[in-house]
Amino acid sequence: MLFRLSGVTKTYGRITALRDLSVAAAPGAVGLLGPNGAGKTTLIRTLLGLIGFDSGTGEVLGLDIRTRRLDIRQRVGFMPEDECLFPGVPGVGFVSYAGELCGMAPADAMQRAHEVLNYVGLDEARYRRVESYSTGMKQRLKLAAAIVHDPQLLILDEPTNGMDPAGRQEMIDLARDLSHGKGMSLIFSSHLLPDVEAVCDHLVVLGRGALLAQGGIQELKKAHPNSFDVRVKGEPEPFLARLRAAGADGEVRDDGLRVRLPDGATPDLIWRTAAALGEQVRHLRPHRSSLEDVFLEAVGD
C-alpha cells in the first residue's frame, strides 16, 4: 500500500481541514484533486508527517505517520507548490544540498545532483545561481531536488504552476516517465485536470476535508450504457420531444442532445424516431464521463 489513512481528522482552531478521512492508495500514479480549501495541502503535509492530526491513524509506505516521520520523509520526495529556494548557491549546489539533507554523503550528493539535473534538462544552467532561474527552471530544479535521493514516493504539489505550455508539457512528460517508466510512485496534486489525466492512473477527489471520490481514472470515466450523445441536422427540441413521447429522456446541450433510453431499449429507438420525423442523425455515440464530469459530479457542482 502506498498510503493509508483511517478516520483522520485535522483541525486548525475552528477550521476542520480533514474530516474523518479514510483513504488508501496502491503504488502507482495517484492524482489528488479538489477545489481550493478541500484539504489537499493538509493531506500532503499529513502524509509527510509535517503536521500532527487530532484523531485517526495512518501510514505511508508501511511506516506509521505518527512515529516514523523522519523515516517517511527520507523515503519520500516532495516538490512544494510555493516558490522556495536555498539562496546563494548554484543549481548543482542546491540539488546536492537537498541530497545531503536527506542523508546522502556530500560526494554522492554532488554526483547524483549532476545526474538528475541532466535528467530534468537543467544541465546547461547547473552553475548559475538559482536566484537567476526562470519560473519554469525553478520548478524543474525543485523536481530535481525532490528526486535526488531516489525516493520511493514522489509528491508533486501543483508542479506545472506558472509554466508556459512547452515547459508544462515537459514537466508532465517527466512526471509520467518517473511514474510509468522508472517505477516511482507519485502523488500529483493539481487544479489542471488534463495534467492529472496525462500523468495519473488513480484519482482521489477531496472536498471540504472529506473523500468525495476515489478510484482508477478509467473506471471513474465510465461508459453509461443507456445514455447517448446525439446531434441531428435540424432543431433538437422537436426530436427530443418525440423521444420523450417514446419513453426516453434527455436534455439539450450546447453541442446536441444527451439522451437516456428507458431500460431494455436500444439505440434503434433513436434511429426509428429520426426516421419517423424525417430527421438526419449526424452523430451518435455512447456517453462517457470526462474527468471534468467526474470532478464536477464529485464536488456536487
Binding site: Y12, F86, P87, Y97
Partner: protein, 422 residues
C-alpha cells in the same frame, strides 16, 4: 542535449541516519560563507591576537630558561622577584596573557558574527526555504543547531583554535612539562569560554536574523545591540565614577582649605589651586618667605589631594562588587565570564603582590618629589580591583542565560513548523 544522456537512473547508495542531520546544514553554511572575501579577511584579522599571545608565551618560556636578551628586556617591565623566579609566576602570567588575548578575540568574534550571522536565517525566510528543509528528514532543532554550527565553526576557528595553538607553542618553547601542570586549567577554560561565546552570540544572532528578511537590518540591529549597549554602560560607569570622585575630592579639599587657607596669590578653582604670578625663580636666588609658604601650602594640598584620590579608589573598589552598570554591555558580560573561567582575578592578585610593597614604600618618598604614586597602605588586591571585573560572575551568567532563553523563544516563534494555516 547532453552527449551521453542516461536518463533517470536509480540510486543504490546508503542514506545516513538522522542523528547528524544538522551537520549537513552547518557544512552547507560554512561552505557558502567561506567563499566570501569579507569573511576571509575577518578570519585573518582574528588570528593576529593569537600571534601576540604566542609571542608572549614564547618570551616567558625563554625567560624561564634565563635567556640573556629576554631577561634584559623583561626586567624593565617586571619586578626583580618575578625575573628571579619566573616559574613561580608562570600560571599568573599565562593567565593574564590569555585574558588579554580573549579580550581582543572577543572584539574580533563579535565582528565576525556580524559578518557571517545576519543572513543565516533571514535569507531562508526571504527565499521561503523552510519548506525545503522541513519536508526533508530535518527537524526544526536540526535546523537551529545546524545554523548555530555555522557561527560556532567560525568562532572556534578564531577563538578556540588559536588559543589551543598558542598553548601548544608556549609549551614547546618552555621546554618544561611542569607547564602542563601549572597551566592545563587555561586550556579547559579556553574551551569553555569559546563555547560560552559561540552558544550565546550564535543564538542571539540567529534570533536577530529571524526577525527580518533583510540581512542588512539584522546587521544594523546586532551592531546597535552590541556597541550601543557597551557605550551606554561605559558612559554610566564613567558618570558614576566622576560623581563619586567629585563628591570625595571636592568635599575633602573644601574642608582642608578651610583649615589651611591658601597663601596670598593662590586662588581655588573648585578643588584645584591656581597661582597668578611668577612661579620660576632666578638661579641661585633664595626663595622668599612668601614663596616658601606657598610651596609648603602646595605640598600640603598635593598630599591631601593624593589621600583623597586613595579614598576614591577605595570607594570604587568597595562599590565594584555591587555595580550593575557593566551588565548593560553584552560584551562586558561575556568578558566577565572569561574572567571567571580563566580566574583572572587571582592572577592579578599574584602579580599585584609583587608591585604593591615597592609601591607602598615609594609612595611617601615620591610625595615630596611631585610624582603621583598612590600613598595608601599595602593592598594586594589593588591591581586586581583595577584590572578584573569585580561584580559576581553569576550576574553576567544570568544576563547571558536570559538573553539565550529570549533568543530561543524568538527563534521558535519566528521559524515555525508547517503545522499551521497559510
Amino acid at each position: 542535449m547532453p552527449i551521453f544522456d542516461q536518463g533517470y537512473q536509480h540510486w543504490t547508495g546508503t542514506l545516513a541516519g538522522h542523528r547528524w542531520r544538522w551537520l549537513a546544514v552547518s557544512r552547507h553554511g560554512v561552505r557558502t560563507l567561506r567563499k566570501s572575501w569579507v569573511v576571509r579577511i575577518m578570519l585573518f584579522i582574528a588570528w593576529l591576537p593569537a600571534l601576540a599571545l604566542v609571542a608572549a608565551l614564547t618570551l616567558w618560556g625563554l625567560l624561564e630558561q634565563q635567556a640573556a636578551t629576554v631577561v634584559a628586556f623583561l626586567q624593565r617591565i617586571f619586578p626583580p622577584e618575578v625575573i628571579a623566579s619566573p616559574q613561580e609566576y608562570r600560571s599568573a602570567v599565562w593567565t593574564v596573557a590569555y585574558s588579554y588575548f580573549f579580550k581582543a578575540e572577543l572584539f574580533c568574534a563579535l565582528f565576525l558574527v556580524l559578518t557571517v550571522g545576519p543572513s543565516l536565517v533571514s535569507r531562508d525566510l526571504r527565499f521561503n526555504a523552510l519548506p525545503l528543509y522541513l519536508s526533508r528528514p530535518v527537524r526544526r532543532i536540526d535546523y537551529f543547531v545546524g545554523k548555530l554550527g555555522v557561527i560556532a565553526y567560525f568562532l572556534i576557528a578564531t577563538v578556540i583554535a588559536p588559543a589551543v595553538g598558542a598553548y601548544l607553542l608556549g609549551l614547546a618553547f618552555s621546554l618544561d612539562l611542569g607547564v602542563v601542570r601549572d597551566t592545563h586549567r587555561l586550556l579547559w577554560a579556553s574551551l569553555g569560554y569559546g563555547a560560552v561565546i559561540a552558544l550565546s552570540a550564535g543564538t542571539l544572532m540567529l534570533a536577530l536574523s529571524s526577525l527580518s528578511r533583510r540581512s542588512i537590518y539584522v546587521g544594523l540591529a546586532w551592531a546597535g545591540f552590541i556597541f550601543l549597549g557597551h557605550m551606554v554602560s561605559t558612559i554610566m560607569m564613567g558618570v558614576q565614577g566622576d560623581i563619586d570622585r567629585r563628591e570625595i575630592v571636592q568635599t575633602g579639599i573644601k574642608q582642608w582649605v578651610e583649615k589651611n587657607p591658601p597663601p596670598p596669590g593662590v586662588e581655588m578653582y573648585g578643588p584645584y589651586p591656581s597661582f597668578r604670578g611668577r612661579v620660576s625663580r632666578e638661579k641661585g636666588k633664595e626663595p622668599t618667605a612668601e614663596e616658601k609658604a606657598r610651596e609648603k601650602w602646595m605640598n600640603g594640598w598635593s598630599q591631601a589631594h593624593g589621600d583623597l584620590q586613595t579614598q576614591v579608589e577605595t570607594k570604587r573598589a568597595e562599590q565594584a562588587p555591587t555595580d550593575w552598570r557593566p551588565l548593560l554591555s553584552y560584551a562586558t558580560n561575556l568578558d566577565r565570564m572569561g574572567d571567571w573561567l580563566l580566574d583572572t582575578d587571582a592572577a592579578w592578585v599574584t602579580l599585584g603582590k609583587t608591585v604593591e610593597r615597592p609601591r607602598a614604600m615609594a609612595g611617601p618618598l615620591a610625595r615630596n618629589q611631585g610624582i603621583q604614586i598612590s600613598t595608601g597602605p599595602v593592598n594586594d588586591r589593588r591591581l586586581a580591583d583595577r584590572m578584573a571585573w569585580q561584580y559576581p560572575w553569576y550576574w553576567s551568567a544570568g544576563v547571558l542565560g536570559g538573553a539565550w532563553l529570549l533568543s530561543v523563544f524568538v527563534l521558535t516563534r519566528r521559524v515555525k513548523s508547517l503545522d499551521r494555516l497559510k
